[in-house]
């Protein structure tokens, strides 16, 4: 019963990314295998050194860094989207695996969901 949670909206401007994280953490809390896949502008959640205090929000960088501890199996980012947004090993937070988000990837999971 493995679940893939997809995030394609960038951070802070919209809430669906945060709500997708909550879904993944919730699955993990109930011992259900869960992985995260960031695509499109969503890969910007994975940039280092986000300082969201100035816009009255909390950075999610720490939450994401703690994902493996909470039982999230993998944090994946679409390779081409990272390239579009100038993200590479030096600018991504730790623990992210670059993948090609294609039809074959989906078949590894029983269930795939967006938060909104």
């Amino acid at each position: 019963m493995s679940t893939l949670i997809m995030i394609d909206q960038p951070p802070y401007g919209a809430w669906t990314g945060r709500e997708a994280l909550d879904m993944a953490f919730s699955l993990a809390a109930f011992d259900q295998p869960a992985s995260l896949l960031f695509t499109g502008a969503g890969v910007n959640w994975l940039r280092q050194a986000q300082e969201a205090g100035g816009i009255g929000q909390k950075s999610v960088e720490k939450n994401l860094s703690a994902a493996p501890i909470f039982g999230i199996e993998a944090i994946m980012a679409d390779r081409s989207a990272c390239s579009t947004y100038g993200l590479d090993e030096n600018s991504l937070i730790e623990g992210v695996t670059l993948v090609d988000a294609d039809a074959a990837l989906l078949t590894n999971y029983d269930h795939t969901a967006f938060a909104g």
Binding site: M1, M23, F30, A113, F114, A115, G116
Partner: protein, 138 residues
Amino acid sequence: MSETTSETFTLVITGAPYSSQAPQTALGFAQAAVEAGHRIDRVFLYGDGVHLASALCAPPSDETNWSEAWSQFLADHSVPGVACIASALRRGLANETEQKRYELPGANLRAPFEIAGLGEWVEGRIKSTRTLYFHAGD
């Protein structure tokens, strides 16, 4: 003959009425599922979808009141309707329990909707034959 086997569905609605088409598409699906002899295990409102559980919507009289239509469906078919507590509290949806706990000036949750955690979604996702999502579109 899989057509006649009774299956179960969890429906997750993340789009708000009068902002997206998600609640009405979900209702069309739910009605067809029930008519085909299947069961809706539960309906889970998440994100902006929690606004569907508002008791205070008053659309023009020539428009469908989607909150009322969904409440009626849930009551008619004994289907639990659950609004995610984290989404609900941020977005101003409260029942009397939350009203007291957070000292809010009122409650606006429409019966038979309830408020509960994401665990309800996880359980539905495990138990139901299919879990389907109805997101805001464009």
